[in-house]
Symmetry: C2
């Protein structure tokens, strides 16, 4: 039986999870895959602090070259995160003829082309199942399961922290601050949570999903990003009255040869499968030309779920070893179809608006007049609270409209003397 030697860089929570799973599942994996997976070396700056799993001292090193330059090591697993020195380690491993497994979404989002060009030149692979959706085999499904499909759209709940917060807001009427505080206490959110709640982590993952799914390297700066920090309990409650729920979605949508890539809070029909993705779960909803609609759902984080994804990559690479190198990594631009990324002002979608206006005769008529003048048609309205000369919310859903018109209309509405607060607008996807 072949032995595949593995070098692990980064012995944190996830790294320890991988080591534990490899140890505990060694026999099982050998029977299933028919290869022996041998963890040959673990590198970390800190090899003293006890981890969730015990390893022999001889396995540990602080010198990364013991992995990168060891000719016996076939696969390097990079789990240190961040851009530097992770990128250098990966490029170095590829240059030395090793395949790479990484969970590093920030790096892939930033250096997609550089990394895969290097892999291609050396005839090696970079696998990255754990970079998006934690335990969910979404990368494998896009790369292999749906290989014959040209994608039409991809809609993901890919940030567990934001989804946990939105779920607590909806289910327990906690406001954003309290829900965030609870998420931090429970370890679902970082002390400095902005990467998650401002949508940046989702944008990293969207860059990866869209690059792979649409065959065109998508850069972070191509992606429009809005987080959940301004979502209020009021908007969640009004959305519910319309039969809708608010989720932070990572969206990539193709129309002919143009692609939209954006991350923002989105209204979803409550009966849609994405709407029942709650708490720390992730899900990716995909539309392909052959398969139609598909959904992949599972835990988006955690040492055990993530180790499942990483080991799946390791086994895949181990089983491919010895096969003639063919494509995958090299053919990233198979999607030649995508000619242009749309700016956010160009998109057309439905909108929820909450306008805070002084309750006075004729006010709704002037708001509606402005909206109509910008070519936007109103689908339904909620205006329940009537309190003369007080600020009351006017809540409405539009039909499909152009983002540029929506912004212009809201600017004009907000400059009316009866409007005392900035209006809220949340996008709604017709597909969902």
């Amino acid at each position: 039986m072949d032995t595949i030697n593995i070098g692990l860089i980064g012995f944190g929570t996830i790294g320890a999870g991988v080591v534990k799973a490899l140890k505990e599942k060694g026999y099982y994996l050998k029977k299933k895959a028919g290869v022996e997976l041998n963890l040959k070396k673990i590198c970390d700056k800190d090899i003293v602090t006890p981890r969730a799993v015990k390893v022999e001292d001889s396995l540990l090193t602080t010198n990364v070259d013991e992995i990168l330059t060891d000719p016996q090591i076939n696969i390097v697993v990079e789990l240190i995160g961040g851009i530097h020195p992770a990128k250098e380690f990966i490029l170095n491993a590829l240059a030395n003829g090793k395949d790479v497994v990484t969970a590093n979404k920030a790096l892939l989002a930033e250096a997609w082309e550089e990394i895969f060009r290097a892999a291609c030149e050396k005839g090696r692979e970079v696998y990255f199942e754990a970079s998006v959706g934690g335990s969910i085999p979404i990368i494998k499904c896009l790369r292999e399961g749906l290989i014959s499909n040209e994608l039409e759209g991809l809609f993901g709940i890919v940030n567990g922290t934001s989804n946990y917060i939105l779920t607590q807001m909806e289910e327990r009427a906690l406001d954003f601050r309290d829900a965030l505080k609870e998420a931090q206490e429970k370890g679902y959110a970082e002390k400095e949570p902005s990467l998650d709640i401002k949508g940046i982590d989702s944008a990293h993952k969207l860059a990866i999903l869209a690059s792979l799914g649409f065959g065109k390297a998508i850069k972070l700066e191509d992606i429009y990003v809005e987080g959940i920090q301004d979502i209020s309990l009021r908007d969640i409650a009004y959305a519910k009255e319309f039969g809708l729920r608010i989720k932070l979605l990572a969206i990539a949508k193709r129309e002919h040869d143009e692609l939209e890539v954006r991350v923002h809070p989105t209204l979803i029909q409550i009966g849609h499968p994405l709407a029942s993705v709650n708490g720390a779960f992730n899900a990716i909803f995909v539309k392909g030309d052959l398969v139609g609609e598909q959904l992949f759902y599972g835990l988006g984080a955690g040492a055990q779920p993530t180790s499942s994804a990483i080991i799946s990559d390791i086994v895949d690479l181990a089983l491919r070893s010895g096969a003639p190198k063919r494509a995958w990594a090299c053919n990233l631009e198979y999607g030649a179809r995508i000619k242009r990324i749309r700016a956010i002002e160009e998109i057309e979608t439905r909108y929820y608006m909450r306008i805070s206006a002084i309750d006075r005769p004729g006010v709704f008529a002037s708001i509606a007049g402005i909206i109509g003048k910008h070519g936007i048609s109103i689908a339904s309205v909620i205006q329940k609270e009537r309190m003369k000369e007080q600020i009351v919310p006017v809540v409405l859903l539009t039909h499909e409209a152009n983002e540029r018109s929506i912004r212009a209309a809201l600017n004009e509405v907000d400059s009316l003397p009866v409007i005392k607060r900035k209006s809220v607008a949340i996008r709604m996807e017709k597909e969902l």
Copy 2:
């Protein structure tokens, strides 16, 4: 670039879908996969009737040996269905050193061990993504994505016909007969629908999912099967009052070294992701020791969705060609953990019961007495319709109870003089 030659046996609706997709996606697949997929021969009894796709006459044959004995053909795709001669064709292809792709769930359910033993002996692979869940890459996910997981449970909505009927009953209050008739008119159900509505098709698929997922060849006769033919609108409505929905589920559940394998209508919490799988969609909910809960959702049938699954198998085999043969097919019994299949009488679950009793003082007390005597505890009761001396329904949910006790209790209840119709019992899964 390598060329992989494909021979297709069975040029029906699905076969034509595969041919069409291979033709239309040839260039795209070549770029993505780096291999040339060449459809070398198509065999069918009927090569005269026009299909949804045009092919050159030279591709067509009625002589299967032109595929099975052609040394240039690498992959045989079997799409004729049924046991004979499909089994002989597959065994013959394997004996001649070819890999096989099949969508034949009935055959795999019946001859799993024989087929994979033959594949193993010849060092070939049999891939079968299209046999379960249509377009959903569930086989790939179980085999590869979740490879390191030991499964705890697997719950599938895998028969689109039954799910379509149940959805119409629930959403439009059609009764079973009318919903079935409509499904037949729309082409979702066969003229002779019993394979679908009686749960047999689901059992075929469960045999495949459980054999693969738990690493133990499950035989059809191991599976307890109940269909949806006795589900009434009444039960759907009462279930809704309890916040539950009825779905036909294929269930495989492991407890220690014992496995339960069963197909039956099952009550699911309305908020559970499986509960919003409607119409012709399929979904498989999996619990693994590392990943926790996962759900895979998509279209369960149709020429296009199924062709996506078949082409994914073809590409996988094409990309593996030339690699040293390792395991997969041979190691079907990696699950050595499963020592025993439980009989249905041994399972423990919650139950919904609808008992039709004459409304008379003391009747509910005697029913409750019998149920309690059998060690079953009642969780909640609905008894709204009161009509003295008329037959009224007593509807209740039990806590977890043993199937044997439930059957004994219902037998005893049904023999009371005030009971005029057989009671209805529907299982409910605590996990869902």
